[in-house]
């Protein structure tokens, strides 16, 4: 039989013509892109020279308040006030203590980023690190001068509130999320009521409510300071939001996982701890890191209860009558700090999303 099978390889063909990248066409190809290109170019041409002359050419870099006449940016203000904005009314001679706290928290965060470091020892490192950092801030131990929480301020307060509200909120969130999925009706409805009750309120109202109601609702004589009150509000808030994120993970889990564990006659406790939670949590790590960003931003709301966080410290610095209140520079500086923190976490979230953790198929 004569074969129709090709024995010789077909000669290589030339590659098809790739569409040439045409910058002009991309920028001015149709009406929409032309309009947006022109609008953006116009905005840049109109604003950039003003910004450069305000910030660079006419900027006041050194000197006193009287030298800031308003023509240019008053960077001298930031130079004079940055310790106050960063550390609030903490005793200036003791600045190394809040700095140590920042170093501990940032160091622990950086160490915890790669998934290979997600183990029990890291958790213990966080617990010990947090205790040491808080002990350093508060003083009264190791022969350090005691500093009451009323004098804490600036970036350390922002970090403490973020770390503690998330750290204490997470176990609470697991309990609430599991409770919400429970077959026990009473447990389920209590959890639903707590989660939805907290999520229905703005954090601002929650802070407000806790700062007014908590002293009323506890036995007389039990005093809780402002920082602790704000922490209570932020913890229950983060717990409710984290619980909803975790619920997504629990619902996304295949029923067979729990059933298989039951078939192996694992107890409810072992089933939850060894089978359900590890899988549910690893499914929702990206949205969990998003909640971290939300909580970092939310710490700025504590100015409503009179705490000296980064933003309140900045506002207090602006009130100094010796300076002409350079608000754009100050708020820009504060926004930049928040931006660096939040943008890094956002980037990290994108990176972690691309890793296929634990071979979980999405």
């Amino acid at each position: 039989m004569t074969g129709f099978v090709q024995t010789q390889p077909i000669a290589a063909r030339t590659a098809p013509l790739a569409a040439r990248y045409n910058l002009f066409r991309v920028l001015f190809g149709d009406v929409l892109s032309t309009v947006s290109t022109l609008a953006i170019l116009f905005a840049v041409i109109a604003l950039a020279p003003k910004l450069v002359s305000w910030g660079m050419l006419n900027g006041i870099w050194t000197g006193e308040g009287a030298q800031c006449t308003g023509v240019g940016a008053c960077w001298a203000f930031l130079r004079a006030k940055y310790p106050f904005i960063l550390f609030g009314i903490y005793p200036p001679g003791q600045y190394w203590r809040p700095i140590a706290l920042i170093v501990i928290f940032v160091g622990l965060t950086l160490y915890s980023l790669p998934p290979k470091n997600w183990k029990t020892s890291t958790l213990w490192a966080w617990v010990i690190g947090t205790v040491i950092a808080l002990a350093l801030m508060a003083g009264g131990v190791f022969g350090l001068e005691a500093v009451p929480t009323d004098s804490w301020g600036g970036l350390p307060v922002t970090l403490i509130l973020t770390v503690l509200s998330l750290g204490l909120g997470f176990p609470l969130a697991i309990a609430l999320a599991l409770g919400r999925q429970s077959d026990l009706k009473a447990v389920k409805y209590i959890c639903v009521a707590v989660i939805e009750g907290i999520r229905g309120l703005p954090l601002l109202s929650l802070l407000f409510i806790v700062s007014i109601l908590l002293p009323l609702m506890l036995p007389d004589g039990l005093k809780i300071d402002k920082l602790l009150r704000a922490l209570v509000a932020m913890t229950v808030f983060s717990a409710a939001y984290l619980a909803e994120v975790l619920r997504g993970g629990l619902q996304g889990l295949h029923n067979g996982q729990g059933e298989a564990a039951d078939a192996l006659s694992l107890s409810w406790w072992s089933k939850t701890r060894l089978i359900i939670l590890p899988q549910a949590i690893s499914k929702v790590i990206p949205p969990l890191t998003n909640t971290v960003v939300v909580m970092v931003k939310n710490t700025s709301l504590v100015l409503i209860v009179g705490l000296y966080d980064l933003l309140s410290a900045g506002r207090a610095a602006l009130a100094d009558p010796a300076w002409p209140a350079p608000f754009a520079e100050t708020y820009g500086f504060i926004a930049l700090i928040y931006f660096i923190i939040c943008f890094s976490i956002t980037r990290y979230t994108h990176w972690i999303e691309r890793q296929n953790l634990f071979g979980v198929n999405r």
Partner: protein
Amino acid sequence: MVWWRDQKFRAIALQLLAASAFIGLILWLTGNTAANLAKRGLTVGFDFLGRAARFPISESILSYSPTDHFWWAYTVGLGNTLFITVIVALTATVLGLMLAILRREDNPLAQGAGTTYVEFFRNTPLVVQLLFWYALVTVGLPSIDAPLNPLPGVYLTERGLYLPAISLNGLDMPVRAKFNFEGGLNLSPEFVAMYLGLSLYAAAFIGEIIRGGLEAVSKGQTEAALALGLAPKQALNLVLIPQALRIIIPPMTSQYINILKNSTLALVVGYPDISFVTATTINQTGQALEGIFILMLVFFTISIVTSVAMNIYNSRVALKVR
């Protein structure tokens, strides 16, 4: 089997335990509260709502005077909250749509501008942004004697914005009087800061929701529509958008409720919304419990009504699966 290992028994016992712990906690807290209130000689009750409020509300869409009752002050505050929420939601939706279109273009300039906007506004706290806009108006703008006048009839001053208003007899232009501008539309610095700040912030989130929704519809859908001979515009309107809406609506609902919740930040810049009225009322009357109760009631009601309404709408556009 031992009786305490019985599943039914355990279920009932656990539920009883949880319920009694929860109720016990609430009773303990209310008991403490009652004891504390009694010790301070405070009475609980809503009688104060019928008394005259005697505090000013600087601006409102409902008419108000300090001789009005507390309940009316609450209503006026609620009116302001709803007013700012609705106009911010409308503005932010339009801006967000523009942002989504901008980021979907092939134009690298447009993409870059859109991305920069979204990343910047989403990664800084809203309070910082609001305080910035407020300071920009009250400190950054010139005094009323030398207003910024970019367009005829538009005056930007540290006391707010003066714009031409549209009335029955045509345009009503603001005119400089002895101490102030008269006529036209006057937007206070507090309102401008709230409106600008909330709209620009929410637009970044809404833009991402819309873009995400459009991208989530598989590309094959548009390609199939084009292959069937639909014009690009038809493919967008008849195939892409109806499918994207299903994905967009649930996060949009929570975004609108977020705008409502974020509007409570008015307290920071001093725009008289419901939380401002609550805080002032508590300060004046000491009726903290009642004030907080009203505030919570308002928020729960609005949140529930909004999500029910959006759920009904959602079930209409949702995919019918047989």
